[in-house]
């Protein structure tokens, strides 16, 4: 997948589905269904 522009305020964010650390698959469009989400991208641990 090629690098895309980062979604800006007012734009629709790209949907995605990813497993969480317990193995449960989470889809962004489902996460926001119950209300707004604060989505944190972080560097990770090593």
């Amino acid at each position: 997948m090629t690098e895309q522009p980062t979604p800006a305020p007012g734009q629709t964010a790209p949907d995605f589905a990813l497993p969480d650390s317990t193995g449960e698959v989470r889809r962004l469009s489902e996460l926001v269904r119950s209300g707004p989400r604060v989505l944190i991208f972080y560097r990770g641990h090593w």
Binding site: P14, D20, S21, T22, V38, R43, H45
Partner: protein, 136 residues
């Protein structure tokens, strides 16, 4: 992450749940989630598909990781607020909370170059103190 753990309840009260995302796999992320007691999920973007799709892929470090960033995404998946923290420290949870509670972005950074009026006022104050340089 610890700061967001400590603010998760306040963010929830302000109407938003938290979710975190990194390129680490579950073997790395799950112990961190447990040890820090994070009350929100950590998503594992091991293929880097999402960080690429969101323009947040940093190929220069550790085999490719995410640039730090925070978004507020509404129910329609529209970005309401974002902070891209590529060079500075991560945005504080206070700024996110302020947006959620007040519905407006945090104030812009202070001007680096003071306005002329501010400069004149500072000069007068300095003269008023006898022109001495403050110590400490």
């Amino acid at each position: 992450m610890a700061e967001y753990r400590d603010s998760a309840e306040a963010l929830r009260s302000a109407g938003a749940e938290v979710v975190a995302l990194a390129v680490d796999d579950a073997v790395r992320s799950e112990p961190v989630r447990r040890e820090l007691g994070l009350p929100f999920p950590i998503l594992c973007d091991t293929r880097r598909d999402v960080v690429r799709a969101w323009g947040l892929f940093n190929p220069a470090e550790h085999g490719g990781i995410a640039f730090p960033a925070v978004f507020v995404i509404d129910r329609e998946r529209v970005v309401r607020w974002r902070s891209l923290d590529r060079t500075a420290a991560r945005v504080s949870t206070g700024a996110v909370l302020r947006f959620l509670l007040e519905g407006r972005p945090p104030p812009p950074p202070r001007r680096v170059i003071p306005r002329l009026g501010d400069f004149v006022r500072a000069l007068r104050n300095w003269i008023g103190r006898g022109g001495t340089t403050p110590v400490g």
